[in-house]
Amino acid sequence: MTLPATLRRPRRLSSRTEDLIFKGTVAFLGLGVLGLAVGIGLSLAGEAGPALGRFGPGFFARSVWDPVREDFGVLPHIYGTLVTSLLALLLGGPVALGTAVFLAEFAPGWVRNPVSYLVELLAAVPSVVYGLWGLFVLAPLLRTTVQPALGNWLGFLPLFQGPYYGVGIFTGGLILAIMVIPTMAAVSRDVIRAVPDDQREAMLALGATRWETVRYAVLPAARSGIVGAVLLGLGRALGETMAVTMVIGNRPEIPASLFGPGYTMAAVIANEFAEATSDLHLSALFAVGFGLFVLTLPVNIAARVLVWRVAWGPVGGE
């Protein structure tokens, strides 16, 4: 049988050479990305050098940020970054997981498709839009209703005391939760869908309810993938800049209350980079960036590995 001319293999290169070229190209591209990450890390560290040299490890342990006297310590920013991200996961995680389970296991097709589409759409809304909404809608709402209510019921805890500004650590965590829900829900849904139907059928055949099927057959199999989705959300929360800057209050202090204003590492860079005129100030901002880079890189790597394990690795491990 003869193939049409267009389908015949072009005879210019041997298949071996072709493979070598292909392999070399993708290896170059792949390692290029790695090189980029290493390069960014190195140049950040280089620019951060003067500040880190001047303040030493104390840079990450002191609570002072005074550009006028050029005295910098970034502990409040680290605290704000970690606490808002943690809040985002605590508030957003259950919602995202519930959405994912509903969409993957329970929703009928006519609900699943539009809702899935909307969830993905939410993930694509620019963060400055979330920030403006947070400042003009969410913060006033929190100040007038949610914060007084929490203060009434839980005011015996130091976490819920103090004046209600509307903006602050709590608002920052809440806006982050709203922002990371779509990412976590979309990835978790895909991971849950990837669990083979054999598992569900076996469980149902044993007489399990839908809940038991999800609880004992589906979620354990998808566990590492869901953890990966959560870590992806965490990565986004740690690095999110604009939205948090607009609602966190931008005060370099560690407040006892969640209602108090705080600061994040990304926010201080966004706020001060454009007008940082002294070399040490600029270097301190690079050092903050380096710290944030060091913080987010392992989170993202862990997320990739976990997602990869459930999607392509041995199914139903654990």
Binding site: S43, E47, V64, W65, D66, P67, V68, R69, L135, F136, A139, P140, R143, P163, Y165, G166, V167, T245, M246, G249, N250, R251, P252, P261, Y263, A267, A270, N271, E272, A274, E275, A276, T277, L282
Partner: protein
Amino acid sequence: MGNLGPLKFLALALSLLGVAAAACAPAGAPRPGVPAGAPTLTGAGATFPYPLYAKWFDVYAQKTGVRINYQSIGSGGGIRQLLEGTVDFGASDAPMTDDQLARASGKILHIPTVLGAVVVVYNLPELGAALKLSPETLAAIYLGQVSRWNDPRIAAENPGLRLPDIPIAVVHRSDSSGTTHVFTDYLSAVSPVWKERVGRGTSVSWPVGLGAKGNEGVTGQVKQTPGAVGYVELAYALQNRLPYALLRNRAGNYVGPTLENITAAAAGAAPTLPEDLRVSIVDAPGPNSYPISAFTYILVYQEQRDPLKGRALAEFLWWALDEGQAYAPELHYAPLPEEVRAKARTLVKTISYQGKPLLEK
């Protein structure tokens, strides 16, 4: 990239883009009476005067064919780019420091172009009339020493006003800005305690208060928080119809930020201005002077490297100090008083190429 820092790299990339854009654009469609091959100037810096500068550049290009590309990247960025020689001129709300001037490759002139003002805005809906503040009280509020609106110190200056018993929610800019520099410069000038504890700068370590991003952030925060006080550029207060405080000036009068009062501040400061005009005019003398007024500058090298561009730049500055002033009021900028324009013109006349002045005036 060797030692090319990211900022330098960015500056390089931007200037390459600028060159590419200039090369692609039709080289100034010849207009009647406009010399062909008029140079294109590039500048970068302050965001505060950008609306006025954009208007100026547009009008000036139509008039003379000289096109001016301006990136409003902030005063700090403008100074940095000028020092690195990637732009023909910089623009800044604050004068350059001695330290920065020492790093320049030549003498840099500060040409004031127009005046801006920082206004103190507040959210006290049932007040009845405009709030009056003395410099001492304003400093005490931002130092956290006065923390409720019905504090006797505020009440003493505002007899007859219904001052509520609510906490003062202090709002300041979180991003570094020329506005913050002018405001903290004023507080440092009027309050020794502020000068000692906080000082002046584009971003400072605030004793109290919430940080909001940008003029729009401060405006939003003040509008939504009953009992809030903040500071913004005049144009933002006017556009958003925020009530602003009348401030007691050095002559003892409570004055509002009208364009006349801002110009009056520069006129009041004029007799004591140094020749290089590199000076703050906050808390200026004069019966009508609005106390938180400031120049915004265009920064140029006195010795130009390119005679064609240098002459175009000097001619533009001359025009800005003359006809250009008329465009200021409609955009809420205060024109310079004649005394200051005369001094600025003297500086423009010294712009030279190989030691020879470029302007024949």
